[in-house]
């Protein structure tokens, strides 16, 4: 009985050691995580070219004669420009 217990102890010790070394080896050869500095990209919002307004009318596309100004977010008035876009 004592022999069996001793053999089991050795068996578990050896298996644990090999499992640890195997895991170490796998991790050492796996893909490395990407460094934060490599993932940080600044997504600057690019303003789209202002589309022409098209008159509705079954797709006939008559011009409305309206001109659109370049997008801007700062108010040139003495109050904030009111914004609408749904809620």
């Amino acid at each position: 009985m004592k022999i069996i217990k001793t053999a089991l102890h050795y068996w578990f010790a050896i298996v644990s050691l090999f499992s640890f070394l195997a895991g170490w080896g796998m991790l050492a050869h796996s893909l490395k995580p990407i460094q934060p500095s490599q993932t940080t990209t600044v997504n600057t919002a690019s303003l789209p070219a202002l589309p022409p307004i098209q008159a509705f009318g079954g797709g006939s596309g008559n011009g409305s004669g309206l001109n659109f100004v370049a997008p801007r977010t700062q108010s040139g008035f003495g109050f904030p420009i009111l914004r609408t876009g749904g809620s």
């Binding site: 079954g58 011009g63 409305s64 109050f79 914004r83 609408t84 749904g86």
Partner: protein, 313 residues
């Protein structure tokens, strides 16, 4: 011009007013109280709200407050003018697609469960609602439940602006993009209103100058969530009972009243180019509109857009 920001009705509220600071502060306080009280009256997310009480009373007469009665009388008129595209009785469908809690709470969920056992559009028609004007009573047929999300915010914005105008010479109330403008700021001939890109709200697609009155925008890109693996938004097409599949991403309407601007923005967005001419004809073309499509092209009827001029900034 003084400004005051706060959050109510699950959206950002901006009050702007011109006048003496002490009077403006008084006006802001009264305006905020009105908005909060109105939210308590019209919210479907509060069990204590008058609207929830009305929904629970479906099948028997309900004594309504003058405010609720007014909004429902308007809703009934707009239901017919929009050929049913504006329909407050789609609440069962909204719940079925997952919009059963406030948007602030819904946004905290990664996804809500599917309710496949429920059928779309299985509720009485809004035309069956009865209004007794002399007694201020409302009768919803059994099984009807209302959501006033497509009209109440505009109505509240306009009423609030009228309250605020008692304290100022010019003011604006912007409730999440539904706004009402009273008077004109000193030295200005019109109000500038920036139209947001529906896909990138921080970007202004264009800025319009509008006369005192109302502007409202409806978009399919703002109130969105996931139900199971399906992407959902809050604009239910009453013809299908499902979130509308639209040609446009957003529609902005300029109209004399904020509630009609809100209603027609929603109806035009759902109806798209196919229905727009007919809706405009039915309501006597009381409004102008801009629609933005998936390529960010801006559309609008030539005649109605003539009343809008573009800001020269």
């Amino acid at each position: 011009m003084e400004t005051f920001h706060f959050r109510a009705m699950n959206t950002d509220i901006l009050l702007a007013a011109q006048g003496t600071p002490a009077r403006i502060a008084e006006g802001f306080e009264e305006a905020q109280q009105f908005i909060q009280a109105s939210e308590g009256r019209f919210s479907r997310f509060s069990e204590e709200s008058e609207l929830s009480g009305l929904n629970r009373s479906a099948g028997r007469p309900f004594q309504a407050s003058p405010d609720l009665f007014s909004v429902l009388a308007l809703a009934q008129r707009f239901f017919h003018q929009t050929r049913g595209l504006f329909d407050p009785s789609i609440l069962p469908d909204l719940r079925r697609v997952g919009y059963d809690r406030s948007m602030d709470l819904l946004r905290q969920q990664s996804a809500v469960p599917l309710f496949e056992s429920l059928l779309a559009g299985e509720h009485p028609s809004f035309s069956e609602m009865e209004l007794d004007e002399t007694r201020g009573m409302i009768l919803l047929p059994p099984g009807m439940a209302l959501d006033l999300g497509g009209i109440a915010k505009g109505w509240i914005a306009e009423q609030t602006a009228l309250i605020l105008s008692e304290f100022s010479s010019a003011c604006a109330v912007n409730a999440g993009g539904d706004m009402f403008l009273v008077g004109l700021p000193d030295g200005e001939e019109q109000w500038p209103v920036a139209i947001e890109d529906p896909l990138q709200p921080e970007i202004t697609l264009t800025t319009l100058k509008v006369d005192p009155g109302a502007v409202a925008t409806s978009a399919v890109t703002k109130r969105v969530w996931k139900q199971g693996k399906k992407q959902r938004h809050h604009l239910i097409d009453p013809r299908t009972g499902e979130p509308a599949v639209t040609d446009w991403l957003s529609v902005t309407v300029i109209a004399p009243h904020a509630y009609e601007a809100e209603v027609f923005a929603k109806a035009l967005l759902i109806g798209g180019p196919q229905e727009s001419e007919e809706i405009a004809r039915k309501c006597g073309a009381r409004f102008s509109y801009l629609a933005i499509d998936h390529d960010r092209k801006i559309w609008g009827p030539q005649k109605s857009l003539e009343s809008c001029s573009v800001a020269s900034l």
